[in-house]
Symmetry: C2
């Protein structure tokens, strides 16, 4: 059973994991150095713990204790009980969903382990927005993808905002970081995957045609701004587009990835 | 040619249209009473004006003037030129994309006018998040939908955040507000549309089956939280789901609407 610890001072050092949650740069340093990440909201906290991540601590106002009682019963980690005003003062924003937990990151699995048995994987080259990373994880998991691979520059799926938007899919969908960018797609091809890059290249085929009849597929998504790198665009086995109306800006990356995952999963 | 007016005081009354852009309640009152809306970013400002909306004024730092010179040449509205620090002080946030414009709302067209000639329309019952409204407009326009209808409780497509996320699609996709909620779907059926509600109802069919072979389709989307109202769910001619993996939360409404629009547009 978690130990309930009432805290009344915003500068209490035990609250260090929860400071200034809107300061992305500060959080990146803090989370990397301490090997932690945050889950926000009772549902997401529950899923993180069900996903096997060890808890460092919880932080919540008294009214959230009952709803998480069964979760608190599973651990000896401290649960810091604070007023909502104090929570806001420490974190820097109004914590709508009430409960926070600080969890321990685990070593990432190998690419081979993540790909073992997978038939549909999504590969993110340089999605830099945490909301988009979370949205892609949620869609990929919901639409039946088996795994995600992230290039070195892709944003962190365990950053608070990614975790929240993914609604826990970052805990359930197997994923890891590619250690090597340059030849990552040929390596996937060598592993038996047809790499299909979503891009506006001249030789792109409609996504339904591009994935028709394929066995193992790696769906490759670029960045929100400039899209895929030239290297990855050219290295992919196939290039695909989502057919769109004329004179319209492309879909945003979250919408495009949802459509592409849907079509690919139903190939 | 817009008149360039340098302003150095944050309390200058000519900047009233641009105050406190993060204060949603204040902005709703201000925009409704003055019949205005804001466009943010050079690209979106340009599209609003190309869409025929009259300009009340512009607000921008000097470095954005050149890029919008051709747009400024088309109007006699004042362009308030301010430092970036002053823009931030007035609006309440850092204006990343530099240029803002305050534009005049136009009377909404009739439902009949919006439906005239349309084959695929999206109907939003109670999407309350401006980001989601904007995302749905963008996806619907990109994927070939002809129009959007909004129930009385749906969030405002011309709110700054909706406009920004839609990347201008709120100007190009014909839309209007339904004045009547209760019998809106039967009225659409009477107008020759098959109403297809996206919902997790027991009798929902996979979306591809639900729309196969239909002529005019009205794709009906509920709210982010509790989904469609019981009345609309039951009043729809058909109920449809996007097939999903077991034990996974549903797709978010922006992802689900992108997939549903894609499938419906290709029926």
């Amino acid at each position: 059973m978690a130990e309930l610890v009432e805290i009344a001072a915003a500068d209490d050092p035990r609250l260090a994991d929860y400071r200034d949650l809107r300061d992305v740069q500060l959080r990146k340093h803090l989370e990397a150095e301490h090997g932690l990440f945050l889950a926000e909201g009772a549902k997401v906290v529950r899923r993180a713990i069900e996903g096997g991540f060890p808890v460092r601590s919880f932080l919540m106002a008294p009214r959230w204790l009952d709803g998480l009682a069964d979760v608190l019963a599973t651990t000896d980690a401290p649960c810091y009980v604070v007023s909502e005003a104090l929570a806001e003062e420490v974190t820097g924003f109004h914590v709508h969903r009430g409960a926070l937990a600080s969890l321990v990151r685990r070593p990432l699995p190998s690419v081979a382990d993540v790909l073992d048995g997978a038939r549909s994987v999504v590969v993110l080259e340089e999605i830099v927005d945490h909301t988009n990373v979370g949205a892609i994880f949620r869609s990929a998991a919901a639409l039946g993808f088996d795994a995600a691979l992230l290039a070195p520059r892709c944003a962190d799926p365990l950053y608070r905002r990614s975790v929240k938007v993914a609604m826990g899919a970052v805990f359930s969908l197997p994923w890891t970081r590619l250690t090597e960018w340059r030849d990552a797609l040929p390596a996937l091809s060598a592993a038996g995957f047809t790499t299909v890059a979503l891009t506006l290249a001249d030789d792109s085929a409609p996504i339904e045609e591009a994935v028709a009849g394929l066995d193992k597929v790696a769906l490759v998504l670029g960045s929100e701004g400039h899209g895929l790198s030239a290297r990855w665009e050219q290295a992919a086995d196939r290039r695909a587009i989502i057919p769109m109306a004329a004179e319209i800006d492309s879909l945003n990356v979250a919408a495009a990835s949802a459509v592409a995952c849907y079509v690919t999963a139903r190939r």
